[in-house]
């Protein structure tokens, strides 16, 4: 089967500086692909090249096996819709006007919308939870609401390919998850190919069918393609997203700070999983390293009565009422334990 959209022997970059070489990528209908990677790795450049809005340094983008360069602008616009990072806070423009512009490639020279066009617009608005918002003016909306309108515009285009550059920016957590679910539904139920560049690592890894992971640390830098879990297992995600002070934990999907005292603190497992996990977070948040080794100098446990936290160490034993107090005490103890290193 020919992929809807593919990159053949592509390289991307600016001017004569190439960021990534030898790109061979493919998206098939019904597939939701997430583009992950640090800032400046070339995600936006690749997306723009895929949309025909920018050129590859070399190589070809193929739409249904045909070079994008040989497709007319009009054809491409009926097949590919984009959501860019550009602001759409256009003075005086309403949500309805914005979303109706999604039908632009399909209307006559006057831009009149047919009933089919209008129903596509209504559907896109409903999917993005914006029904009844048609007359709201874009600059009046919050950034997140406007972002939903921008996605609705692209959905209204009803294209075979949907390319989105950081579509979840500005959205609250609920709407982030919601947007990813919508994008995957669009791919799965309507058979469209969806490619989104994202910074929400955890969400992306939970929803994507496949991941294109930009690895600028590799030499030469490359794009690793694989299922989310495979990339986690191979350590690729952890390698790309960890730095000297921050480590990405592939199992928890969280970032762990590597700065601070890094003093081991034993944490008693206890019976309550929630309490245990929160105490783990508290300790690593203030720069400690949670451990299950009893030889650690400090230890944190729930009191027998179950109403307080007991913190023990070289500086004595304390009974503390909340994890907030535990954190404060730990910081004091860490500072006292490492006077030289912290300077």
């Amino acid at each position: 089967m020919t992929p809807v959209l593919a990159v053949r022997d592509g390289s991307i970059g600016y001017g004569s500086v190439s960021l990534v070489r030898d790109l061979n990528l493919a998206v098939e209908a019904g597939e939701f692909i997430c583009l992950l990677g640090p800032n400046g790795a070339g995600k936006t450049t690749l997306l723009r090249a895929l949309a025909g809005l920018g050129a590859l340094l070399s190589g070809d983008v193929l739409l249904d096996g045909r070079s994008l360069r040989r497709c007319s602008r009009a054809t491409v616009s009926t097949r590919i819709a984009v959501v860019l990072t550009e602001s759409l806070a256009i003075p005086g423009m309403t949500v309805g006007e914005l979303v109706r512009l999604g039908r632009h490639p399909f209307t006559d020279w006057k831009g009149s919308l047919s009933d089919a066009d209008l129903s596509a617009v209504r559907k896109a608005l409903a999917v993005m939870d914006l029904s009844g918002w048609e007359d709201r003016v874009l600059p009046e909306l919050s950034d997140g609401e406007r972002q939903r309108a921008a996605i609705a515009r692209a959905l209204a285009q009803e294209s075979d390919v949907l390319l989105l550059d950081e579509p979840t920016t500005y959205l609250d957590l609920t709407h982030r998850a919601e947007v990813l679910r919508i994008l995957r539904d669009v791919a799965w139920t309507e058979g469209r190919a969806v490619v989104a560049a994202l910074h929400d690592l955890d969400l992306a890894l939970r929803y994507a069918d496949r991941v294109w992971l930009f690895d600028p640390k590799a030499d030469p830098s490359r794009v690793i393609v694989g299922g989310p879990e495979d990339l986690l297992l191979s350590g690729a995600v952890e390698r790309v997203f960890s730095s000297r002070s921050v480590r990405y934990d592939p199992l928890d999907g969280t970032f762990e700070l590597r700065n601070g005292a890094r003093i081991p603190v034993h944490i008693a497992k206890g019976t309550d999983e929630r309490l245990f996990r929160m105490s783990l977070r508290t300790v690593s948040r203030v720069g400690g390293v949670p451990t299950d080794r009893r030889e650690a100098r400090m230890s944190l446990a729930r009191s027998v009565s179950g109403e307080a936290w007991i913190l023990e160490g070289p500086d004595g034993r304390e009974s503390l009422g909340s994890l907030d107090e535990v954190a404060a005490s730990l910081r004091k103890r860490f500072a006292a334990a490492t006077p030289d290193e912290s300077r």
């Binding site: 602008r73 984009v82 423009m93 309403t94 006007e97 632009h104 831009g111 003016v137 600059p139």
Partner: protein
């Protein structure tokens, strides 16, 4: 519902324009009775009668010129504001008006300076001819620049800088001019719809109507351009070509207006905002036709305003500035909340 209101809005402006047009014919500095106006219009008076002269040869071309110039300025402003995504853009941002003023300054100075060599036809163009030549020359410069400058913002800066440079040239020229020449230049700078006789209105008017008609097929791509050039390209718009076409139409409209009536201020900035506000829309399919009618209304109103001083004629730009500037300020103060600008 909303569409109906918009359609009514357009009809309202068309009716208003027609009413003001008629008012232009009946009301002027010299008195002509209503009966004589009707008689002159219907051709029942001899062509050399005073009333015929005033109504047919003075008031009628003046009204036509106001109507056309208003529409042209308004459409030119809409196009420029959309192209540059800048609410303060207007017909004059590309330096076309400055170019016209340079042409005028040259023709004023040239007429005297070369008088001794006999009137060569080139120098006998008069103010209007100088304005047209200047506008056309600066237009070609801007169009040439538009082919090389990649984005709208760059072109905007180019236009504004070009305007500054040309204005500076005008200042240099004026410093050599005689007092009466300076006075003529300043008077031209006040703008007036009255200075254009039938010959010029007929000639330039036809081109203006063609340019106005050419703006109609630009409505759809202009809607896409509101989203910015990248989004427009993703919607299948040939951005380079449309940008070129928009600049062509807008600068022809601005140049011809300046040739007909001098540099008329504010109509080109204010009328587009007025239309968008009244229609609560940015859709060019609504705003552009409305802009044609509303621009005509505003220009006719302003022209009638110049006659309010009785026997002293208030300069056109005084009226447009006094109406336009407060309107824009009000838009920013009141419209800031409603995000109109």
């Amino acid at each position: 519902m909303k569409d109906r209101i918009r359609r009514h809005l357009l009809s309202l402006f068309v009716v208003l324009a027609a009413g003001l047009f008629v008012a232009e014919l009946f009301w002027g500095t010299s008195f002509v009775s209503a009966g004589n106006v009707v008689a002159a219009l219907s051709g029942r008076l001899p062509p050399d009668a005073g009333a015929t002269r005033i109504v047919i040869d003075v008031r009628l071309p003046r009204a036509v010129s106001a109507l056309l110039c208003g529409a042209a300025l308004s459409v030119s402003g809409i196009l420029m504001q959309t192209l540059f995504r800048n609410p303060l853009a207007g017909p004059d941002v590309l330096g076309v008006t400055s170019g016209a003023s340079l042409g005028v300054a040259l023709s004023i100075l040239g007429a005297k300076a070369f008088a001794g060599f006999g009137a060569s036809p080139l120098l006998d163009l008069g103010l209007g001819g100088g304005a047209i030549l200047g506008a056309l020359l600066s237009m070609s410069v801007v169009l040439a620049a538009a082919r090389h400058v990649r984005d709208g913002a760059g072109l905007l800066v180019f236009g504004v800088m070009f305007g500054f440079a040309v204005s500076a040239l005008v200042s240099v020229l004026l410093s050599w001019a005689l007092p009466d020449q300076v006075q003529r230049y300043v008077a031209w700078g006040f703008g007036s719809f009255a200075s254009s006789g039938w010959d010029r209105v007929r000639g330039l008017g036809v081109v203006m109507i063609v340019a106005l008609a050419a703006s109609i097929p630009l409505m759809k791509p202009c809607n896409a351009l509101l989203l910015g050039e990248t989004y427009a390209a993703s919607l299948g718009v040939d951005v380079r070509f449309i940008r070129f076409a928009v600049i062509c139409v807008a600068s022809v409209l601005a140049g011809l207006t300046t040739a007909l009536s001098g540099p008329v201020a504010f109509i080109g900035i204010a009328a587009p905002h007025m239309c968008r506000m009244m229609a609560s829309s940015t859709d060019h399919r609504i705003v552009l036709p409305l802009g044609i009618a509303a621009g005509g209304v505003v220009a006719l109103l302003a022209d009638l305003g110049t006659r309010l001083g009785g026997s002293t004629v208030i300069p056109l730009n005084v009226v447009t500035s006094l109406l336009g500037a407060p309107f824009i300020i009000w838009l920013i103060l009141a419209g800031g909340r409603r995000s109109r600008i």
